[in-house]
Symmetry: C2
Subunit: 242 residues, 2 copies
């Protein structure tokens, strides 16, 4: 059985303007790979209602699980929850369980649960809350879409609580070799090896270090013996591999 | 007149598996913003012919300019050029001008222009070459799609040669303020200010530092006076802003 598939949707003008460097996509990719779920596509869209709705609908229909980051805070530019509700044609309003979490949190801190903070209790009907151990305001899951915060520490905590609830596949294992030769030098025999071993995926990643060209080869499969066998074949083919 | 729009398509299993952290999207975002072109969407797809074709067609129809990164080297997993040709229903083959560039380069180095390296001279009919000062193998532009290498140093060189050829808009200027208060504290007055100043975009980005919540506010517009006015209004509203 092929592994389950996933997509990520990063929501945020700040990524597209270059103000901020996204860190969440890489974190999610690593965590999904460990769990045997294949991150197959990622998108970044701006803080635009229609763009979010369209992307959520398209990705939700195409992949087993969708993860969004960003836009669930208390300010005017936090429009994700409403867009997700629209994508699922679900009503949205302040939900008692989310409100109770926030109320208890701000009471403990002697702070007011004001109108802006109450926006963070707006949850689409039918969604399940995702715990936020960092700053309490929850994410939520509706259908196959997991809606999470953009602040990396909170995103990571939410990923840690969602992933164990998902059905994973066989973990994909990888081994890599560094060959101190340019891709053009090794592409012929490498391509023949790849054609002879369709049971693994062989990726070739060129690098330039101190002006010299080299290649990282990555062999991936859920069958560890298949990876081992191809790595051995590579070291025979390219004795200079490290 | 609104600024021209752009999208980026990152092609590469290695980003989606978490093996590599993409660096090109951030670079492109910064360069486009300087040139007054609005990066409106970005996608990452795997090394899959059909996924690349579908994404190129969709993005090319929706935005003024598309930039791709990755998959134009000499190895078996470099499938971008053929996928782009398919997306435009253009024939593709080894082109004399690209071949001549590579031949001269490898002759100078005393290296062979072998069959694998010749793959890098496969260019769709009707495309214009993009210069590669780092390792010679060219990128290309077909229609509104600019096809570039994934190695960051080469990607950056190609961006530097393509962007000046594009019509830009008024550069979008931004100023930011750091407010040492949580978003929930400031969201009310901030939202009112944003509603009163539709001529600028006001983004609110929470952070957590040493356990304390704070907010970065970014004001953006192509009109510098409008940005200045809103920044002044913010410092009146939030005297603790830095």
């Amino acid at each position: 059985m092929p592994n389950p598939t996933a997509a990520m949707l990063v929501i945020g003008d700040e990524i597209l303007s270059g103000r901020t460097r996204d860190a969440n996509m890489h974190h999610l990719a690593v965590e999904l790979t460990k769990h045997g779920i294949q991150l197959t596509e990622a998108r970044v869209v701006s803080d635009n209602h229609d763009a979010i709705v369209a992307a959520v609908r398209e990705l939700s229909a195409a992949y087993d699980a969708i993860f969004t980051s960003g836009g669930i805070g208390p300010t005017h530019d936090d429009i994700t929850a409403d867009a997700i509700a629209d994508a699922f044609n679900a009503p949205i309003g302040i939900r008692a369980d989310a409100r109770a979490l926030l109320q208890a949190h701000y009471d403990r801190q002697g702070m007011e649960l004001n109108e802006a903070r109450l926006r963070m209790a707006r949850i689409p009907d039918g969604a399940a809350l995702i715990e936020n151990p960092v700053s309490i305001a929850p994410g939520f899951t509706i259908g196959n879409v997991h809606v999470m915060a953009g602040v990396p520490s909170i995103f990571q905590a939410m990923v840690a609580s969602v992933i164990p609830t998902l059905t994973g596949g066989a973990p994909v294992l990888s081994q890599s070799l560094r060959i101190p030769r340019g891709e053009g030098d090794i592409a012929g025999p490498l391509g023949a090896l790849a054609a002879a071993h369709p049971e693994v995926s062989i990726g070739s990643y060129p690098y330039i270090r101190d002006g010299a060209h080299g290649t990282n080869i990555v062999v991936r499969s859920s069958d560890p013996a298949a990876v081992d066998a191809v790595i051995i074949a590579l070291t025979v083919l390219f004795p200079e591999a490290q």
